[in-house]
């Protein structure tokens, strides 16, 4: 089924177009920009987790020499916003709900003056009771994080109740009856801490007004979303707001959503000067409404003695933090991950999204998935152990397969989960003898592909070179870079023939941005459609020149020639020169997204369409670890992966996504977790205390793809990829540790301290 045209694209060695800028230091990131007269922005943060503002006086700060603007809630339109639940304002009004909430913003001539002005702002608080954990947040007598929650705008389908910002459930069959009939029932409890996206580039925003229009350069993953946020909160039409993203220094979801663009634009409007905000690393940890959510999990799984899973109950409580940001869909997504890619006839999976006085949660690389996969797959090994079955054999028996109904009632087409299990475990040497204190843990994971509208233009100039003008956003993955390959293959040209014009909302049509692993999946379709229009034009031109039918013209190797007669041809560059004096070569493309997937036979509460997944991706990770029993220190020795992400378009880029996703998963497994004090303030908001994995920690990583052409998906049968490799690593590490320790470490991250405590749990007396 695979179209033959893909062969060239999939085997080509890929050097990214933005690479020379990046290796020579000439590439400009947002913080590298300077405009004449630029002021420095700084924020005054709440610094307390829950309190009523009793006094806010900025007059001393405003009076300071060198201070051009000091703004608060009183200086911006009266707008409450939020992608799903409208629970947030640009600046705190009356109440602050987490320590990183912005109370005021300053623009001044330099950083020192701005900081002095921030310090001169007088804020007095009356403390409110702090909600510091998710279970107590849901108790009927818990203090409310939002007194006015019932008045907030939200989609009617969302089920909200007091501190529960979103309840969702997936139900199928009769779970209680099936549990009663099961030969074994296993119950498990797990908890995971929140953690951070931690891109190496801290956020930066520069805003400049010219007349009544503002241009904002910003380190966002989602320029169109950022524009929509500015328009909504400052009450501007999109025709007056232009977002440009210079090179973006990583995102991992942390730079999704609309962040500080409106604050900086509002400062610049009042100051009548360009204003620049650059975050410190500490602000990166404390302020954004994007960090990976902590979750508490309870599982109950019923199996027959032959190993067949017949029932699962799951209850999850997700830490929403103080505002919902883009986390409104997390409860249903997490409920899906609590079921996992398994055939289960009877299910009840419930998830709550609990407001607390923590930093807000938001989409970080595969939101809810790695930690829920860790908990579920740890539980899965516990079930296999109870049966006395090998955990891999247990997964092979129960995992979904092609044309078999999954846990939410969706039946998938041809999928490769079984092949992924075989490939990953074979590469890891699963079942072969290991050294003392070594073990291999195995986990499987899944993740959807997200279909979205997306657009691009292409033009070919008279010299035969062209531009791809796309709304797509590059956050490092190389997905935008790969678009050149798609255009070149459609037109019989070379990727190097195309310049990319991207990350500018006023130049290009809409795209959802570097979010949901969707760039190539959706914008690839747009670029192919745009190239197709030009291909049609070239065929017409060539047909006239060669006295042949347009349908018989083939575009290849820079030539347009008659099919079957390679000698009867004309150079595409020559056709482009002809067109430059007549009808110009211009293509535009978007094309309808692939149809939505459907789940049948289940009952959902709070259904926002997350129980059926378009082009789901599957993975298996097998991880070999070594444990130092004296200290609890775990060393990851090798990670063997296999992924079904459909056709792989760019192997170099795809490998990089898997290697990076695995490394992030190792961090989540072992070192990355936010610690809170009793006042709900982060205790480790610095890279010294919040440890990312280094080059010396990194193990060898085997990368394998089970390439299955997937219809109704991305271009050439591709699914998405960037988030999926982050899903199963921590789970596999957890299962390896559990084998060595004899029981799972029940809290993520599985730090040396927690591993040691688990080893020594029986020796407490």
């Amino acid at each position: 089924m695979t179209p033959s045209a893909t062969a060239q694209a999939t085997t080509r060695r890929f050097v990214r177009a933005d690479g020379p800028d990046k290796v020579t230091g000439s590439g400009r990131y947002t913080a590298d920009l300077s405009l004449t007269g630029t002021l420095v922005a700084k924020f005054r943060y709440a610094q307390v987790s829950h309190a009523r503002i009793t006094k806010l006086d900025v007059s001393a700060a405003r009076a300071m020499p060198g201070v051009f603007a000091v703004i608060t809630d009183a200086d911006v339109p009266d707008v409450r916003f939020g992608p799903m639940v409208q629970d947030r304002r640009l600046f705190a009004r009356d109440v602050v709900r987490f320590e990183g909430e912005i109370v005021a913003a300053v623009a001044a001539v330099d950083a020192e003056t701005a900081q002095r002005a921030v310090d001169a702002i007088v804020v007095e608080y009356s403390p409110l009771p702090i909600v510091n954990d998710v279970e107590s947040a849901l108790s009927p007598d818990s203090p409310l994080v939002h007194e006015d929650w019932a008045d907030y705008g939200a989609p009617g389908v969302m089920v909200r109740n007091r501190n529960d910002a979103s309840y969702a459930s997936i139900a199928k069959g009769d779970v209680d009856k099936a549990l009663a009939e099961a030969d074994f029932v296993v119950r498990s409890h797990y908890e995971s801490d929140g953690c951070h996206a931690a891109p190496i580039e801290p956020r930066a925003v520069v805003a400049q007004w010219e007349g009544n229009k503002v241009t904002i350069w910003t380190s966002t993953q989602v320029p169109f979303d950022a524009r929509a946020g500015v328009c909504e909160t400052l009450e501007l039409p999109s025709s007056r707001v232009r977002i440009i993203v210079p090179h973006l220094g990583g995102g991992f979801g942390g730079k999704c959503g609309f962040h500080y663009e409106a604050h900086v634009a509002a400062l610049a409007r009042i100051a009548k000067r360009p204003v620049k905000l650059v975050f410190s690393r500490r602000e990166e940890f404390l302020a954004p409404d994007k960090r990976r959510e902590g979750i508490v999990y309870d599982f109950e799984t019923g199996v027959k003695a032959d190993g067949t899973i017949i029932a699962r109950k799951a209850r999850l409580v997700i830490d929403n933090g103080a505002y919902t940001a883009d986390a409104g869909f997390f409860s249903q997504l997490a409920a899906m991950h609590a079921l996992g890619p398994y055939k289960i006839p009877n299910v009840l999976s419930e998830a709550h999204l609990a407001y607390t006085n923590h930093q807000p949660s938001g989409s970080v690389r595969a939101p809810t998935a790695p930690q829920t996969c860790w908990a579920l797959e740890s539980h899965t090994d516990e079930v296999a152990n109870k049966l006395g079955m090998d955990p891999v054999a247990f997964r092979k028996l129960n995992a979904v397969d092609s044309n078999v109904e999954g846990p939410s009632g969706q039946t998938y087409g041809e999928i490769g989960v079984q092949q992924c299990i075989d490939a990953a475990t074979a590469a890891a040497g699963y079942g072969k003898p290991l050294a003392d204190d070594e073990a291999i843990g195995v986990a499987i994971g899944w993740w959807p592909s997200f279909a979205s509208a997306s657009g691009a233009y292409i033009k070919i100039d008279g010299d035969g070179s062209g531009q791809i003008i796309t709304g797509a956003q590059e956050c490092g993955t190389g997905a935008v870079m790969t678009l050149r390959q798609l255009a070149a293959d459609e037109l019989g040209m070379q990727p190097e023939d195309f310049e990319l014009v991207y990350q500018d909302t006023s130049a290009a049509p809409y795209d959802m941005g570097a979010t949901g692993s969707q760039t190539l999946f959706n914008n690839g379709r747009a670029v192919i459609a745009a190239a197709g229009q030009i291909a049609d034009q070239l065929r017409e031109l060539a047909a006239n020149k060669l006295e042949a039918a347009a349908a018989d013209i083939v575009l290849a190797d820079g030539m347009a020639h008659v099919a079957g007669s390679p000698d009867r041809g004309v150079a595409i560059a020559k056709l482009a020169a002809t067109a430059a004096n007549g009808e110009l070569l211009i293509g535009h493309g978007s094309g309808p997204p692939p149809p939505a997937a459907k789940a049948v036979g289940n009952t959902c509460v709070g259904d926002i369409g997350m129980t059926a997944w378009r082009a789901p991706q599957f993975s298996c990770h097998a991880v070999r670890v070594r444990l130092d029993r004296e200290t609890g220190v775990v060393r990851v020795l090798r990670v063997s992966t296999a992924h079904d992400s459909g056709t792989i378009i760019n192997h170099t880029g795809a490998q990089g996504q898997v290697e990076g996703g695995v490394m992030m998963g190792i961090g989540q497994a072992l070192t990355e977790g936010t610690k809170y004090d009793d006042q709900a303030r982060q205790r480790n908001a610095a890279l010294l205390e919040y440890k990312l994995q280094t080059c010396a920690d990194a193990p060898p990583i085997d990368v394998q793809f089970v390439e299955i052409y997937t219809p109704d998906a991305g271009p050439r049968g591709a699914k998405s990829l960037a988030e999926a490799p982050n899903v199963a690593t921590a789970a596999a590490i957890g299962n390896a540790i559990a084998k060595l320790v004899g029981s799972p470490v029940r809290r993520l991250p599985m730090t040396a301290e927690r591993v040691w405590e688990t080893i020594n749990a029986g020796n407490a007396s």
Partner: protein, 161 residues
């Protein structure tokens, strides 16, 4: 309130060029390179010596310029990422990290290249483990390091032959 430090005039030699600067005694080398000298290839990732994005070479030795006073760098040869090329020709490290796919977002890349440069200067034939330890002061969140390590090893082989 922060103490105001006196300014001092001195020269900084960056990539073989002497730049006269007049900056406060407490200014770090990173901010002077970026804002006074105008070379923005050196990045700020944490201002805390933890990430390595601000790495430069001082007389060939890698230093986190966020935590090094500009005034201390007087009389020393400072190399930034902009000084690694020879004319228009990329250094093999730059070419190889690109060809191996060791660049994604690129924010850590300048510091990573300078660390690798210093490593290969002091050890022309590093083992994989020596490369990994040599680069462990430079955080990368994108790549998982695999392709960066491969690029450094490939460069070592090229430079020896």
């Amino acid at each position: 309130m922060s103490q105001a430090f006196e300014s001092q005039s001195f020269n900084l030699n960056v990539n073989g060029v002497d730049y006269p600067v007049n900056v406060e005694m407490d200014r770090n080398l990173l901010s002077v390179i970026r804002t006074e000298i105008g070379l923005t290839g050196t990045k700020e990732g944490c201002d805390d010596c933890e990430c390595g994005a601000c790495m430069v070479l001082l007389d060939g030795q890698p230093v986190n310029s966020c935590s090094y006073l500009a005034v201390q760098a007087q009389g020393r040869a400072i190399t930034t990422i902009e000084g690694v090329m020879t004319g228009d020709e990329m250094h093999p490290l730059q070419r190889n990290i690109l060809e191996e796919g060791g660049v994604q977002c690129g924010f850590c890349t300048p510091g990573m290249i300078l660390s690798a440069h210093a490593l290969l200067e002091r050890n022309a034939a590093p083992s994989e483990e020596e490369v990994r330890i040599g680069l462990s002061g430079n955080l990368c969140r994108c790549t998982g390091y695999t392709k960066i390590v491969a690029a450094v090893q490939r460069t070592a082989v090229e430079l020896r032959s």
